[in-house]
């Protein structure tokens, strides 16, 4: 009667035949009623007219199931802004995918929720920008959003479905971590993700407004540990801490091209949702290639798969199968070379610089009127 947690097993060798993927992030649209300052969507949002049509997404889901994908994450933008969200969910469930709807919850009508659950949606992940209306408005740029999220959470829980909350943490809301955890309990969520901001897209643009101080980060680590112990059996708390202050980088998505991938609203297939920042990579589209072909042969997937592409210090490092050199997008953004060691690593010659950058940005007092709210999404 053995069980192993597939999700935590990194890929072992340098260049074995890649395993089939286990997770697909389908970014159905970049449109969204909220305008979160930390949004990881690209600054260049794809327009509605460029979005894949219903039949194409269905074909992609069928191919994903065939290829071995287990979890399908329906995300965006706001996935429920797609008129065909129920039809797409039904198809995903029919081909055997486990569907996880990642939503802001605002603008999802109760009847739409019922239709989604009836269609076979397995799990809902609701984003939480703050523990009250004031912070939620400051972060998400929409009045009344907190109340609507609360109502949505209740509707999900009342129907007996599991709910996960996802709170992206940054300077604007870091003081609310304990209250967010309490709200999660009050809402009846089974799980909460306390995810410190990753600096891509709009978050990178707003980094100076978002970067918390090391002291505040350390405090949240303690708060999370205390709550985890106290709420055992009631609420699972998963936490991701910022790696600007870390010693080693994070294993990004289980390794490049190893476990998960994403498809953009227009159909580009990416090894990670921020991969388009690496401009020299060639991304294949679902319009021209079967998903399996992209996964096994796509040049963007081959580029940083395994360990052959590594330079020193990663190349001769004993941790190279543990973290695969960290995040390629962060290496590019901070060091200027996507094949460099992630500067979050102490062994990187640039490591001190990012610690300094985090310290100086977190100490800087930016003018809150200068924060860039995300655009709602091009028509």
């Amino acid at each position: 009667m053995s069980e192993t947690l597939l999700d935590e097993r990194p890929q072992a060798n340098a260049k074995p035949k890649p395993q089939p993927p286990i997770g697909l992030l389908a970014e159905l649209t970049h449109r969204c009623p909220l305008r979160c300052t930390y949004c990881s969507n690209p600054i260049e949002l794809e327009s509605r007219s460029a979005e894949l049509d219903t039949e194409t997404w269905k074909r992609v889901f069928s191919q994903a199931a065939e290829l071995g994908v287990i979890h399908l994450h329906l995300s965006g933008g706001e996935p429920c802004a797609r008129k065909d969200i129920v039809e797409l969910t039904r198809h995903a469930a029919e081909v055997g995918l486990y569907t996880n709807l990642i939503t802001s919850g605002v603008g999802v009508k109760e009847s739409q929720l019922d239709a989604l659950l009836e269609a076979g949606c397995d799990h809902i992940q609701l984003s939480m920008q703050g523990a009250d209306e004031e912070i939620t408005v400051a972060v998400a740029g929409m009045k009344g959003a907190f109340e609507r999220k609360q109502a949505f959470a209740k509707q999900v829980v009342d129907r007996g479905f599991p709910l996960t909350l996802n709170s992206v943490i940054h300077r604007q809301n870091i003081h609310q971590v304990p209250t967010m955890i309490e709200k999660a309990v009050e809402f009846g969520a089974k799980r909460i993700e306390i995810a410190h901001t990753q600096y891509y897209g709009w978050a990178l643009k707003n980094r100076a407004h978002l970067m918390p101080t090391k002291a505040d980060v350390d405090k949240t680590i303690e708060q999370v540990e205390e709550a985890r112990e106290r709420l055992k059996g009631t609420l699972v708390i998963d936490a991701v801490f910022p790696d600007y202050y870390a010693k080693y980088p994070k294993l990004c998505n289980g390794g490049w091209g190893a476990r998960t991938f994403s498809v953009t609203p227009s159909g580009k297939v990416l090894p990670c949702h921020a991969a388009e920042t690496i401009e020299h990579l060639e991304f294949w589209s679902v319009s021209d290639h079967d998903l399996a072909d992209v996964w096994y042969n796509g040049p963007a997937f081959e580029a940083y798969r395994g360990t052959d592409w590594m330079q020193e210090p990663c190349r001769s490092c004993e941790r190279k199968h543990i973290d695969f050199g960290g995040c390629r997008c962060q290496a590019l953004a901070l060091v200027g070379d996507a094949a460099a060691t992630d500067p979050a690593c102490v062994k990187s010659p640039h490591h001190d610089r990012i610690g300094d950058l985090a310290r100086s940005e977190s100490a800087y007092v930016p003018d809150p009127t200068k924060v860039s709210y995300r655009l709602i999404g091009a028509a």
């Binding site: 009667m1 069980e3 192993t4 395993q19 287990i70 486990y98 599991p162």
Partner: protein, 92 residues
């Protein structure tokens, strides 16, 4: 040893699916953000967890299939299901 009543009906909660994993072989139990590989006798147990069959029925059925004593199988079945319940993957 834990004791589940004869009439306990195990079932998979919303958000948990048990299915074959054709791409990699074997069976998997899938929940939000987690995947467990299921093998051997466990597969046969979960195949019978349909939200209608009681523990007693499941054990009796397995005893026939494996030509084994019910009393021998039962503790294993219970331990397996209780472990999954603690992981929020089964409701008892």
């Amino acid at each position: 040893m834990s004791d589940l009543g004869d009439d306990t009906v195990p079932k998979l909660p919303h958000g948990v699916k048990f299915r074959e994993d054709k791409a990699r072989g074997g069976y998997i139990l899938v929940g939000p953000e987690r995947i467990y590989n299921i093998d051997g006798v466990s597969v046969e147990i979960l195949k019978r967890v349909d939200g209608a069959a009681s523990i007693q029925r499941i054990v009796a059925d397995l005893a026939t299939v494996f030509t084994a004593e019910e009393a021998v199988i039962r503790p294993d079945v219970e331990a397996f299901l209780i472990d999954l319940r603690d992981k929020q993957m089964v409701v008892l």
